[in-house]
Every structure is written in structure tokens, then in C-alpha cells.
């Protein structure tokens, strides 16, 4: 990652360094181009994952050096002589000028989670090439641009949130719709992420034990950091990580002991456990559970991602999946239904374009930026890093034998429960895996079964265990690495669930406070409990329906999650485009405007198909009609096993379909309101008022402080 931020208005560059830069960037372009060439020309033969890594890194470097710089300089025009909110409003708590490398770490830890790991794994059903192209092109032209522009605009407004910016710059209707959309989208997101954990831990005593242990470990860390040695975060986190590794090792022992039965839980039980946990975690004091968990998750995140990068480069695995699979064209894939356009682009959300990042980029981070020009490194750079995580997840999935991939990711209803039935079903899809190989694969990672472990996490874990065991520890360590990967994903997701529930609770309190005053008070206990319970119940509902859905929860809910996330991106990009037009930069409105058009095309096509498609595999209402008709006729359609199952399918598809309609309407309201404002801005002779904070000269020295330990080091 290039970290050197050139002064944005620099004087003439010496001839020698210009030459060096020319040579360097020619070399980078050449490496990237060759790698893309290999990817494009390889047909039929298996290629090394290194080419994917090189193609991605080369593209990122060029995008960061040229496109990000262009967007920053021409469109945003950061001014380092202008004091940032961190400088003007410095209070040592919320506002604090922060070293750019530290802030990059902060921001990356806040935006990266399980999303970029799960989506690409599911999207691997269409082959690795479409996913790679979308991840790389999407991040360069859409995702990273969105993050950087939102970060910049929020920074110029003293760190106001996306919802507030929508209200201030677009209008009351748009603002209110944006607020409701954000809350609703977050609920779906939490439900689906929790479902990924449930699917990863179901019937796995090892995984369940080690993830359950994260709770006492976090409680211990919280107690240690709060009571015994206040504020010693680094030492506490190191102890926590060590305990976590012990918990993973301990899981192996539990699995082979008499305790195994206690930790072998069904998806339904796990769903209830998670709901209970989510409620308790959101009402406990932050220091007890949430804060320590967050540190633990950050350390594991950065450590494991670095490890994965090393593993991919050193092990250089071969891609076993097809570059473009048969399902890319037919749209009849077992993992998620629907054709490449639009469904690939909603399945891979985080990693290419994620609306959720706009919430992070318009909250904490803008209040910590030291100099305006650093939005390029922090906004654009952190998103490139997340995109690289997505590429590695895609590699981990695509290095698996396709037979194993489909045996793990197709719905249980298709695969049955035995190795024979799964092997037969996979053969029906056009791939081969013998029952013996399936049993062996499960045995290698010490799981009871790998059949129908959908949700992405187990697949990624198997892929990571292959890569890691190739570098560290050999086959003996495979089971450890598998459960390490499961634990690492579950840890991320549970942290997101904790934090998300709390954020959701505050948003709900804020909204309900308008109706009934005491509910809005952040320290009124009954209000806190009620709102927490409401938020937990809402995502818990989706988690429960997902865990019990006869058609496979991930298959049904993941499109909803993807559409929701991308619709949030549509809202964020709408806000960006509107503000650019209002501030007289119509000429550059295409920078967020083209990604906006793209994401609107994707989400509205996907939404339309999900609502109106005649294919019961794709359209929720077609599915509803099919199962409702059969129920009326007293028939039970497989994969449902009873009339109760039939009723469940009817209810779920109705709820999902109605939700999609609701989301699309909310986003349409925001966009319509924004369009009105844009037209008014273009017609107006004088620029419309915006809420940008007035100019104040900066007194912070532009150059980095001298004598800092990291000066000159690359992060």
C-alpha cells in the first residue's frame, strides 16, 4: 500500500525523481497488465492464485496513484491550509488530530468484517473471473470513491452522519426515508450475519465451544482493563489473543470428551442463544463485553488477514474452480439463484461497494483526520485494503475442488444428509466428488460433516486451512486452522452484532423519542431495555426464519442482504452527487454519479426480479404463489417436509418480498427528493446554501512531526 501522501499543491518535481516515478509506474502497470493477461487467456488450464493477487495489487496501485488523486485534487479539492474539525474542535475525546497511519488502521478495522469474506465465497459459484473483475473494478470506481467522498463531505461538516447529511442537503422527506432505510437495512444485515455464524457452528462442538469461550475471555479482559490495570489495552489484548488460541486448542479436547454433547447444538438452539446473547451484550456496560471484544476482534482481524496474505503468496495455491462457470450464464446455480447481472453484484457487496461503509465514514473517522488531503489514504486506501481481503476470500474458495465447494454450499434439501446423497446431487450439478472424499474432507478438519454448510464461513475456513496448512504445520494442523478461521469469522460477526444492536438501539431511541419523550433519553433504563429488545427481536426474527427455512436460509436471505447493502450505497452516492451539484461541481457529478447509476441499475433490477419474476427460484411472490397453491391443494412440495414447512415458506417469501418493495420505495423517495434538489440547484443562478463549515486557517504544521518513532516507516 503506498502511504506517502505527496503535498497536494507541490512545486516542480526534480527531474530525477520524475524519471524514477515514470519507471516505477510503468513497471507496476506492466505487472498488472501481464497478470490480467494471464487471467484473460487462461482457458481450461489451471493457473496460480498469484496472478489474481498481482492483477489486483497492480490495479489498486494505479487506481490509488492516478484515479484517487484525480478525484481528490480535481473534484474534492482538499485544502491542507484549512483546519479540519479534529483541529478546530479538538476535545481529546471525539475530535483529535490523529496520525494518518493510525487512523488508517482504525478506519480499516471499522469497515472490514465478515462481509468481504462471505460474499466472494458465495459468488465463486459463477467462477472466479466475474467476481475478481467486479471486486477490482467496483472498488476502484465505486466503493473506494464512495468511502472517500462521504468521508470528505462529512469532514467538511464536522463529522455529521449520513442520515443527517441527507436531511440537511436533500430535504425532510429524503432525510426521513434515509433514516428509516438505514435502520431497516441494518436489521437485515445483522440477521444475515448472525445466520452465517449459526450455519458455521451448527452441530460443531469444537467451533461452538471455542466461540462460546470468547464471552468469558472478553469479560475477563474487560474486568482486567477496567478494574485491575485500567487502560492497559495492548497487554490485555495480547493476553486475550493467547487465551483465544488456547480456546481453539481446547475445542479439540472438548470435541473428544463427554462434554461434546453439551456443545453440539441445532441451528434453532444456536439462533436462540445468539438472540439472548445479543440482548445481554447490548444492555451490559460497554467496558464489560463490547469494548474488550472489539479489541480482540481488531487484533485477530489484522493478524489473520496479514497471515492470509502471506499464506496465499507463499503457498501460491492453484485455482481449481472454472474461470467462468456454467452457472454464470444459466443463472441456475444452487448457491444463489439468478443470473450474473444483477445477482453477482449484490452477492459481492463488501469488497467492491458497500453502503455500510458510508455510516462509518460519516461518523467517527472524519472527526479524527489531521489534514484534509489524508482522506485519500484513509477513505480510498482503507477500502482498497478491504477489497484485497475480498480477493483473498475468493482465492480461498476457488482453490477448493468444485465438487467439495458445491457439496458444502448447495442447500441441504438438494444434497440430503449422507455422503452418498450429496455425492449424487453434486454429480447432478455436473461436478464430481466421491462419498469417500467427502468423508475424508470432513475428517481432515474434524467436523462431523461438511455437507450443506452454507453461509460461506465453513467454505472459507476449509480454503484457509488448505492454504495455511500448506505453509505452517502441514496436514496435522488442518483441523486447527479450520477452527481458527471459523473462530475468527464468528468473532468479527459477533462484534458487528453487538455494536450494530447498540447503534440500532440508539437510532430507534432517537426516532421513538419524537413520539414519547422518555424513550429518547439515553440513560432511562426501561427505554434502553425496550429498544434493545425491539432491535434484537427484529434481527432475531430473520435469524430464526433463516435457521429454520426449508428452502435454505442463506439462499433466501442473502440476496435481501446484498440488495439492502447496495441500496444503502445508492443513498450514500445520491447524497454525494447532490452535494457536488449543489456546490457548483456539476462538471464532476459523474464521479459519484456513474457508480450511482450502476448501483441503481443493479439493485432495482435485482429487486424487480425478486418481486416480479415468474421463476419461483428467483421471485419471492412467484414462490409464495407456488407454495400457497400447493398448500391449498393439500400437497407438500419438496424440499418442504410437512404442511407446517409449507406455511413457513409462504410466510417467509411474503415477508421477504414485502421488505424488498419497502426498501426500493424508501430509496426511490430519497432519490426523487434529491433529483428535485439537483434540478433546482442547476437552474438557480446563485449556488444553493450547503451546510459546509466555514474556512478556518490551520495552525497544525503540514509536515509530519519529527522524531516520531515510525517516521519514514511504511505501514
Amino acid at each position: 500500500m503506498p502511504t506517502s501522501v505527496l503535498p497536494e499543491n507541490h512545486p516542480a518535481v526534480p527531474e530525477k525523481s520524475r524519471m524514477r516515478s515514470l519507471v516505477l509506474w510503468s513497471a507496476v502497470s506492466l505487472v498488472g497488465a501481464v497478470a490480467w493477461g494471464v487471467l484473460a487467456l487462461a482457458r481450461g488450464e489451471r493457473i496460480s492464485a498469484i496472478w489474481l493477487v498481482l492483477a489486483a495489487l497492480g490495479s489498486y496501485a494505479i487506481a490509488y496513484r492516478f484515479y484517487a488523486r484525480f478525484v481528490a485534487r480535481r473534484v474534492l479539492k482538499p485544502d491542507d491550509s484549512r483546519a479540519t474539525p479534529a483541529e478546530r474542535l479538538e476535545d481529546g475525546v471525539d475530535f483529535q488530530p490523529t496520525d494518518r497511519r493510525v487512523l488508517l488502521g482504525h478506519h480499516f478495522a471499522a469497515i472490514a468484517g465478515a462481509g468481504p469474506l462471505v460474499g466472494p465465497v458465495l459468488a465463486a459459484q459463477m467462477g472466479y473471473l466475474p467476481g475478481t473483475l467486479w471486486i477490482v473494478a467496483g472498488v476502484i470506481f465505486a466503493g473506494a470513491v464512495q468511502d472517500m467522498v462521504v468521508l470528505f463531505l462529512s469532514m467538511r461538516r464536522d463529522g455529521t452522519s449520513l442520515g443527517q447529511m441527507a436531511r440537511d442537503e436533500i430535504g425532510r422527506a429524503g432525510g426521513a426515508a434515509a433514516l428509516v432505510a438505514v435502520l431497516a437495512i441494518m436489521i437485515i444485515l445483522l440477521g444475515v450475519l448472525a445466520l452465517v455464524v449459526v450455519n458455521a457452528l451448527a452441530h460443531s462442538p469444537w467451533g461452538t465451544f471455542s466461540v462460546a469461550m470468547t464471552v468469558p475471555i472478553a469479560l475477563f479482559m474487560g474486568f482486567w482493563m477496567h478494574r485491575i490495570r485500567p487502560g492497559r489495552v495492548v497487554e490485555t489484548s495480547l493476553i486475550g489473543v493467547a487465551l483465544l488460541l488456547l480456546a481453539i486448542v481446547g475445542g479439540s479436547w472438548v470435541q473428544n470428551s463427554s462434554l461434546a454433547g453439551t456443545f453440539t447444538l441445532s441451528p434453532t438452539t444456536l439462533a436462540f442463544c445468539l438472540v439472548g446473547y445479543g440482548f445481554v451484550a447490548s444492555v451490559l456496560p460497554v467496558w464489560m463485553l463490547l469494548a474488550p471484544r472489539d479489541y480482540l476482534s481488531t487484533f485477530m482481524k489484522i493478524g489473520t488477514i496479514a497471515l492470509l496474505a502471506v499464506g496465499v503468496v507463499v503457498a501460491a495455491p492453484v485455482m481449481r474452480a472454472d474461470a467462468v462457470s456454467q452457472f454464470a450464464g444459466s443463472g441456475a446455480g444452487p448457491v444463489f439463484a439468478g443470473s450474473l447481472f444483477p445477482f453477482l453484484f449484490i452477492t459481492i457487496a463488501c469488497g467492491a461497494l458497500s453502503g455500510f461503509h458510508a455510516l462509518v465514514a460519516s461518523g467517527t473517522t472524519p472527526k479524527l483526520i489531521r489534514k484534509e488531503s489524508q482522506v485519500r489514504l484513509i477513505g480510498y486506501g482503507a477500502m482498497l485494503m478491504e477489497s484485497f481481503v475480498a480477493i483473498m476470500a475468493l482465492i480461498a474458495a476457488a482453490t477448493l475442488e468444485p465438487g467439495l465447494y458445491y457439496a458444502m454450499n448447495a442447500p441441504a434439501a438438494l444434497l440430503g444428509t449422507t455422503a452418498e446423497s450429496a455425492s449424487h446431487a453434486v454429480a447432478g450439478l455436473g461436478f464430481t466428488i466421491t462419498p469417500d472424499q467427502l468423508t475424508q474432507a470432513a475428517k481432515a478438519v474434524e467436523e462431523q460433516t461438511l455437507i450443506a454448510r452454507s453461509g460461506g464461513a465453513p467454505t472459507l475456513a476449509v480454503g484457509m486451512s488448505e492454504i495455511f496448512s500448506g505453509v505452517f504445520g502441514g496436514t496435522a494442523m488442518k483441523a486447527f486452522w479450520y477452527h481458527f478461521a471459523i473462530m475468527f469469522e464468528a468473532l468479527f460477526i459477533l462484534t458487528t452484532v453487538d455494536a450494530g444492536t447498540r447503534v440500532g438501539r440508539f437510532m430507534l431511541q432517537d426516532m421513538l423519542g419524537n413520539v414519547f419523550k422518555p424513550l429518547g433519553r439515553v440513560n432511562w433504563k426501561p427505554g434502553i431495555w425496550l429498544c434493545s429488545a425491539l432491535v434484537v427481536a427484529a434481527w432475531g426474527y430473520f435469524l430464526y426464519t433463516g435457521a429454520t427455512d426449508p428452502l435454505g436460509g442463506i439462499n433466501q436471505l442473502f440476496p435481501l442482504f446484498g440488495i439492502a447493502n447496495q441500496l444503502l450505497a445508492a443513498i450514500a452516492l445520491t447524497v454525494c452527487t447532490t452535494i457536488l451539484i449543489k456546490s457548483g461541481r456539476l462538471r464532476w457529478a459523474w464521479v459519484p454519479g456513474v457508480p450511482l447509476l450502476w448501483v441503481v441499475a443493479v439493485t432495482f433490477t435485482a429487486g424487480w426480479q425478486k418481486v416480479f419474476s415468474d421463476d419461483p427460484k428467483v421471485g419471492f411472490f412467484a414462490q409464495r404463489a407456488r407454495y400457497a397453491d400447493a398448500t391449498d391443494a393439500g400437497q407438500v412440495l419438496p424440499p418442504a417436509k410437512s404442511l407446517d414447512d409449507m406455511h413457513t415458506v409462504v410466510t417467509n417469501s411474503t415477508v421477504d418480498g414485502v421488505l424488498i418493495v419497502l426498501f426500493l420505495l424508501l430509496v426511490a423517495v430519497v432519490m426523487a427528493n434529491a433529483a428535485v434538489v439537483c434540478v433546482r440547484a442547476i437552474r438557480s443562478r446563485v449556488p444553493l446554501p450547503t451546510t459546509e463549515a466555514p474556512y478556518v486557517a490551520s495552525r497544525l504544521d503540514d509536515s509530519e512531526r519529527v522524531g516520531e518513532p515510525l517516521a519514514g516507516a511504511r505501514s
Partner: protein, 62 residues
């Protein structure tokens, strides 16, 4: 770069990233602004920080 310099750099980065170094900055700020008032202890500072976190939830992304 020598091993010592590296380990110092890593330590600096981790302390900054986790916010452990915030207290040092806070003390320095406090002395600058209120030279006569005693600086609150680390325990008090951390308790206040926890309280602040309670009412300022931070989203984590997917």
C-alpha cells in the same frame, strides 16, 4: 532498521491504535490548560472514557 527500532515502532503503533496512548495525551493537555489542577488518575480517566463510549456507539461494518 534495527530490531529495537522496529519493536519500538510496533509498540507505538499498537498503543496509538488501541487508544492506550490517549491518557498520556490527555495528561499533557490537562497540564497545559489547567496547570494548577491535579491530573485525574488513569482509573478515573478510563472510567470517564467508558462512560463516554456508553452513549456514543460506534458501528462496525459487515
Amino acid at each position: 532498521m534495527s530490531v529495537r527500532r522496529w519493536s519500538r515502532a510496533v509498540r507505538w503503533y499498537l498503543r496509538e491504535l488501541t487508544g492506550e496512548a490517549d491518557y498520556d495525551r490527555y495528561c499533557e493537555r490537562h497540564r497545559r490548560r489547567h496547570p494548577l489542577a491535579p491530573v485525574p488518575s488513569r482509573r478515573v480517566y478510563e472510567a470517564r472514557r467508558a462512560l463516554h463510549r456508553e452513549t456514543h456507539p460506534q458501528g462496525r461494518c459487515c
